[in-house]
């Protein structure tokens, strides 16, 4: 177990060297600046409306929640980029480059190597996602005075979502080369997003089939369920026409995850890591 921090730091140093963090930090800074500008302009325009007298919709709440929902998606995407780049070559990629063999012949065990890579990725990605999420919330508050109904849980859910993506990427790295794995994980991420949108469309059209597809997809890809639950929670206390307008809004897929979501997520994570360990243990290097 002592080897876990050693290998985790080793992997993170490698990521520093490959300028993964610089790329993500530049992207993050660009996103936050653009988000600040966007929310500032948007609130400047919407705040003059106050409450729409015909519909009763609180325009600033609608604008704040919509913009922050988009920020959550961008945060999840940036977190996914970071998680994928930290783990996409953890097994096969590193083995092909000859970096892995000297490590796994040491008496640390392959499982330890795998867990260490996940711990390293999670230790970076989860705080990063929460920090960007918090920064976006602060920007939304400072520019438009809007603050999510629930702050902590949605942020933690986004952080958990990127940990799940890191675990999936780690699993993929056992079977696929780095590039193939990166492409596969981004396709899985996209599939989750599409499933969420399908659910939203299904809800609007009252299509049980589409809603079922979305439900099953979010169970199969719990990072999407966590994101949807987070979206729901940021406007959890909002009621009336504003709530109705938000449910039709563009950031889509806001669904209650349910009480079992944390348990399902934890079980899913354990299962993915377990399968990855099993596959890695059987893999010839």
């Amino acid at each position: 177990m002592n080897a876990i921090p050693i290998i985790a730091l080793y992997a993170l140093r490698e990521a520093v060297r490959r300028k993964v963090f610089i790329v993500v930090l530049v992207l993050t800074a660009a996103f936050l600046v653009l988000y600040w500008l966007g929310t500032d302009f948007a609130f400047e325009e919407t705040q003059q409306f106050g409450v729409d007298s015909e519909t009763g919709i609180e325009v600033d709440v609608l604008a704040g929640a919509t913009l922050f929902g988009l920020a959550m998606f961008a945060t999840l995407f940036l977190g996914t980029v970071l998680a994928v780049f930290l783990t996409l070559g953890a097994v096969r990629g590193d083995a092909e480059r000859g970096l892995l063999q000297p490590l796994v012949v040491r008496p640390v065990g392959r499982s330890t190597v795998l867990v260490a890579r996940l711990v390293g990725a999670a230790a970076v990605c989860a705080p990063y996602v929460f920090a960007v999420y918090a920064a976006a919330a602060v920007i939304t508050r400072s520019t438009g005075g809007w603050w999510p109904d629930r702050f902590l849980v949605p942020g933690l859910e986004l952080a958990a979502a990127v940990v799940i993506i890191a675990a999936l990427s780690l699993l993929g790295s056992v079977f696929l080369s780095s590039i193939a794995n990166g492409i596969a994980i981004f396709m899985v991420f996209g599939a989750g997003l599409v499933a969420g949108l399908l659910g939203q469309i299904g809800e609007a059209l009252n299509s049980e089939t589409l809603q079922s597809v979305a439900r099953y997809a979010s169970r199969a890809l719990p990072f999407e369920a966590l994101y949807q639950d987070g979206l729901y929670r940021i406007t959890e206390d909002t009621v009336g026409f504003t709530r109705f307008a938000l449910s039709l809004g563009p950031f889509g897929g806001a669904q209650v995850g349910g009480d079992m979501l944390p348990l399902w997520t934890a079980g899913y994570l354990v299962a993915v890591v377990g399968v990855a360990m099993l596959a890695f243990a059987r893999r010839d290097l």
């Binding site: 002592n2 080897a3 050693i6 290998i7 080793y10 140093r13 490698e14 060297r17 480059r97 000859g98 970096l99 063999q101 000297p102 490590l103 796994v104 012949v105 040491r106 008496p107 640390v108 065990g109 059987r282 010839d284 290097l285």
Partner: protein
């Protein structure tokens, strides 16, 4: 010699020592080992042993299964059949890995690591308590003492290979598996490795040296195992493997070859010639070189 003798542990209790072999177990024991990649057999019933302090050369053409054998011994590849043990522990088990040093044919250290950092990382993974002293000693052994703070990216291929050797020696392994350790080295570098291997033999470390460089193997190895198509086709000491090719005698009548004669016949032949009044200027007992033996053995088994 018991575990407790060398670990300094309570003498009444057998404690695990990561670098200690079972007293009677060879450093490496491979028994009827086989490996198939799909339908293609890479190893087909290979058996060999390397004792502690013994240096065994593994020879064979490309695709013979040498690297597969080494990787199975390291636990990087799972055998299809048979058994490989390091110091009595199943290859790939934590105990086997703790007793093992390995230099892969194709390996890389992170470019931005300094030589000392590479060794420090492996010391921590191997649980070695050698500290700075061990690092300095290992770098000195491979003639990299001057380059201890140099980054891997600033090292030549040969220096990286020597650093790889130092890395393999971290934690004082009892068995060293070297897969083409001299492939990137110049003659001076090869000499350093040769001297290092002799030092290791003196320390009781078993070494399996997989190499294409027959001259290196012949110079340094106690025994040679030649494999072709996944099977052992010849094994023995370099002297055992070389076959007599006759005796060459130079007299005033010129050079003559007596193909059926051997080394033991030389005194008698010289005595006969002198008795007949001939002047003998030189006598040489001829034998096949390791290269000739190798080529013959491989050709016989690969067609």
């Amino acid at each position: 010699m018991s575990f407790a003798d060398t670990t300094g542990a309570d003498p009444g209790r057998v404690s695990f020592s990561p670098v200690q072999c079972f007293p009677v177990a060879p450093a490496l024991q491979v028994t009827d080992l086989s490996k198939r990649y799909g339908r293609v057999p890479a190893l087909d019933g290979v058996s060999l042993a390397v004792e502690e302090g013994e240096l065994v050369g593994l020879l064979g053409p490309n695709g013979a299964g040498k690297s597969t054998l080494v990787k199975i011994a390291c636990g990087l590849i799972r055998p299809t059949g048979g058994r490989a043990e390091i110091c009595g522990a199943r290859a790939g088990s934590p105990r086997a890995r703790a007793a093992l040093g390995y230099l892969a044919e194709l390996f890389r250290f992170p470019d931005w690591y300094r030589a000392e950092e590479v060794l420090d990382l492996h010391q921590r993974l191997a649980g070695s308590s050698g500290g700075a002293g061990e690092r300095a000693e290992l770098l000195d052994l491979v003639s990299l003492a001057e380059a201890r703070t140099r980054k891997v990216e600033a090292m030549s291929k040969g220096m990286q290979q020597r650093l790889g050797l130092a890395q393999a020696l971290v934690g004082s392994p009892r068995m060293l598996l070297l897969d083409e350790p001299t492939s990137a080295l110049d003659p001076a570098g090869r000499r350093i490795v040769r001297e290092l291997l002799e030092t290791l033999r003196g320390r009781g470390i078993g070494v399996l040296l997989n190499s294409h460089l027959l001259s290196e193997v012949e110079l340094v190895c106690d025994r040679v195992v030649i494999i072709a198509k996944g099977r052992v086709v010849a094994a023995g000491s370099p002297d055992d493997l070389s076959r007599p090719r006759g005796v060459e005698i130079e007299t005033e009548q010129g050079v003559r070859l007596l193909p059926d004669a051997g080394r033991k016949d030389v005194p008698r032949i010289v005595a006969d010639l002198v008795a007949r009044g001939e002047r003998v200027y030189g006598v040489r007992a001829l034998s096949t070189t390791l290269e000739e033996t190798y080529l013959q053995a491989v050709e016989e088994h690969t067609g």
